[in-house]
Amino acid sequence: MKQNIFSRDMKLAEVVCSNRNTILILPRFGIELGFGEKSVEDVCNEYGIDTSLFMIICNLYSSPNYMPTKYEIENLDIDSLLSYLRASHKYYLNSRIPHIEHHLNRLAEAMPEKDGRLLKNFYKGYCNEVINHFEYEEQQLFPYVQGLLKGVKSDNFSIEIFENNHTNIEDKLSDLKSIIIKYLPGGIMQEERISILFDLFRLAEDIDRHTLIEDKILAPYVQLLENR
């Protein structure tokens, strides 16, 4: 896929068509399809979305090396960002993870009993990791940020402490791909396996971008608040 830097006067449809992954961003901002020829800015205004934030996220989805400017970070609408992150957590937990689980369970049931059980347990372990990871963000970090905005500092929490405790949720997902591609016995539900793999690759890519948003937008923003 082409790595584009988008501008706010582009048609939203053009953004989505030139990088299909950006389509995942829309529902997290509440944007519905059917926006006709409207520009990114028009659609954002219509929905009351911070256009600048929307652009940064689209650009990060399109080019992982993209860096928002300090000015953009300082002036972003943090409530929109937090609600975007909550919406993507919800999407992973309520949609992607159960969807993949459903298909993995079908695969597991067709496998020899031991292999099926190992697969299910491994996935369960992964799910718990993801749940804890998101809970830590939503219950510790987000309230801390909202506190900072009101001028409340904390002695026992900071973005640095958060980053040190922020677990990696990418490894197990990537391991799951390797296990399905290489190590589970072949000849069983090939089609189902391939479709699961596509889901896993897509989820991994999306979570990778999600992490970029936290690292390149949220963390620098919180640092600015802390040093204020």
Binding site: K114, L118, L119, F122, D171, D175, L176, S178, I179, Y183
Partner: protein, 194 residues
């Protein structure tokens, strides 16, 4: 020190002569011969026994499909490129000399190609070695690096090297994933990890 021998494979006489001329002043390398065709080049490699071959990847027969030919056998091969060549092909050479490189730069690239030669690892060694399997089993059983080192009588540093190789070969990074690997492949039984 004796000069290292270079054999050049290049279809263009102008470029071949130019390359030899540039390398004339080198105290490290000597272009002992050159050839304009792959079969001639192959002969020269047999007769001259060069330390390194420099060849233009566009010479007919050097690259077949997407892979560089095995005709050069064990001799390290460096590409001499002055037209667009796919990265995936260039990667298979021990280095790439650009047409605009100075003698110094060419010497450095040739030195590097020879250095890679001496530390060359076994090729296509994708399967886990016996020692790596031992370490994998220990990791899957939940042992820490220090314990593994003690039980296998190797240094903790070696354990880390084995673990890196295991990750590189299997693509599995998490302990839980390695445990699944060990169980699927019957390296351990479920009672070992309960």
């Amino acid at each position: 020190m004796k000069k290292r021998k270079v054999v050049l494979g290049e279809e263009s006489q102008i470029v071949a002569l130019g390359f030899s001329k540039v390398m004339e002043g080198s105290s490290l390398f000597e272009v002992v011969d050159d050839a304009g065709r792959i079969d001639k080049l192959q002969q020269k490699i047999v007769t001259c026994k060069p330390d390194v071959v420099v060849v233009n990847p566009t010479m007919e027969g050097v690259v077949k499909g997407d892979t560089i030919t095995t005709l050069f056998e064990e001799t390290p091969v460096v590409a001499l490129a002055y037209s667009y060549i796919e990265q995936s092909i260039l990667k298979q050479f021990r280095g790439t000399i650009d047409i605009n490189d100075s003698r110094q730069e060419i010497e450095n690239k040739l030195k590097e190609a020879l250095a890679k030669e001496s530390t060359k690892e076994e090729k296509n060694n994708y399967e886990l070695s016996d020692r790596e399997t031992d370490v994998l089993i220990a990791v899957a059983r939940g042992m820490q690096n220090k314990e593994i080192a003690d039980s296998l009588n190797i240094s903790p540093h070696t354990v880390i090297t084995h673990r890196k190789n295991i990750v590189a070969k299997t693509g599995i990074k998490s302990v839980a994933g390695l445990t699944v690997y060990a169980l699927i492949n019957n390296l351990i039984s479920e009672s070992d990890v309960m």
